[in-house]
């Protein structure tokens, strides 16, 4: 049975159909062609599918597309301002935190939500924000550098 999903993605209203069993991740990637949000574990364990849903970071792979009705969703595609990268995006590039890049969109989303809340994140804050984001390439060291650099820039400290 087909549902009509009316939702807002990166400020743009969209309307498309989905099955009840369709996950929000499948809806974004396969129906709406937003490829930036990544498919990895499909079980809510790795964070590659992280999006902002009504202001909060969630795993889109374990969320129903049906629950997106009436929601405000931000994906990685919604962060840059035209050709100007969001400070978190820029910081990830500048510190070498992008190797294969597959975890990167999910990470950037989680970090943006954190730094919108505070530009002085403690180690605990960082841990809370991104413990649910797995990276297999970087060993996390340069990701922590990127978070700090983005925070400094967003706070005008750098």
């Amino acid at each position: 049975m087909s549902l009509t999903i009316n939702t807002t993605i990166n400020g743009t209203p969209v309307s498309a159909s989905a099955e009840p069993s369709t996950s929000l991740l499948e809806f974004l990637r396969d129906t709406l062609e937003y490829k930036g949000t990544k498919l990895c574990c499909n079980t809510g364990e790795c964070g590659a599918c992280t999006i902002i849903f009504n202001g909060k970071p969630i795993n889109s792979c374990v969320t129903m597309a049906a629950d997106a009705i009436g929601a405000q969703i931000t994906t990685i595609e919604g962060l840059a301002d035209g050709d100007t990268l969001h400070p978190v995006q820029q910081a990830f590039i500048d510190t070498g935190a992008v190797q294969c890049g597959y975890c990167t969109p999910g990470y950037i989303i989680s970090v943006k939500v954190l730094l919108d809340r505070t530009t002085k994140p403690t180690a605990e804050d960082i841990e809370e924000a991104v413990s649910g984001n797995i990276c297999r390439c970087t060993g996390y060291t340069k990701i922590v550098d990127a978070i700090q650099l983005a925070a400094d820039r967003m706070a005008g400290r750098s």
Partner: protein
Amino acid sequence: MDYFEPKTVSEALALLAQHGAEAKVIAGGTDVMVDIKYKEEPGCLVNIKKLPGLGAIQANGGSLRIGPLVTIHDIETNALAREKLPVLWEACHQFASLQIRNTATIGGNICRASPSGETLAPLLVLEAKAKMAFPDGEKTEPFTSFFQGPGKSSVGAKGLLTGIDVPYPAPGSHGVYLKHAVRGAMDIAMVGVAVMVTTNAAKNSLQDARIGLGAVAPTPIRATKTEALLRGKPLTAALVKEAAAMAAAESSPISDQRSSAEYRRWIVEALTRRGLEQTWKAATGKEVV
């Protein structure tokens, strides 16, 4: 797969009665979506997130009333929950990832009835009560009898959890939730231990001691023999040792891909000891001697 978004509790109950074993209730979806992808699609999915009045945390005199649709993160960010129910708060704070906590509901965690469910041992120790709705009326039951086996609870196939009533612990009570994992919050708890003690007015003996154990039996359990051992006594190092060993003996863990039963018993012992030491210190200001 049929799909429904009932607008009232009676509508939801009617759907469950109609579809029986074919029906599956979905709230946050962090468990059920994985079932749908990797096990079987149910005949009919009942999305209860539109049900009104089930998503609030309300102070209610001497207790906190938590709606089943309240997310784990909502509890984590609730000042009253943190202040009054630290045992439950800590479990919510160690619950998977932030992304999951923003979606997963306490009702879902409860009704999933997994022995390792993070919030379950704390609810047992807090002597919280489940409010349920059935076709033939409402029912309230303490969580201490609510869980019947892995995946089995008093809600059953036909009922709905409509509320969680958590009384504030007695004054002079201190509780901790300790989760054993390899990595941290992200792991499913290998062992979960909730300890709450209430000291006497002179703060030199245990008026009450409650120990909840998760992931070490077919349901979350209270270590009742251990509690009886502790009640009324001053907490000494020797008593802590004895109690920890008894709690381990009261558990009946299995060996699985995560760990052996023997190791889980060692951890029950270790965390019960830690829990008693920490709560005694918080209550009395003194180390256990």
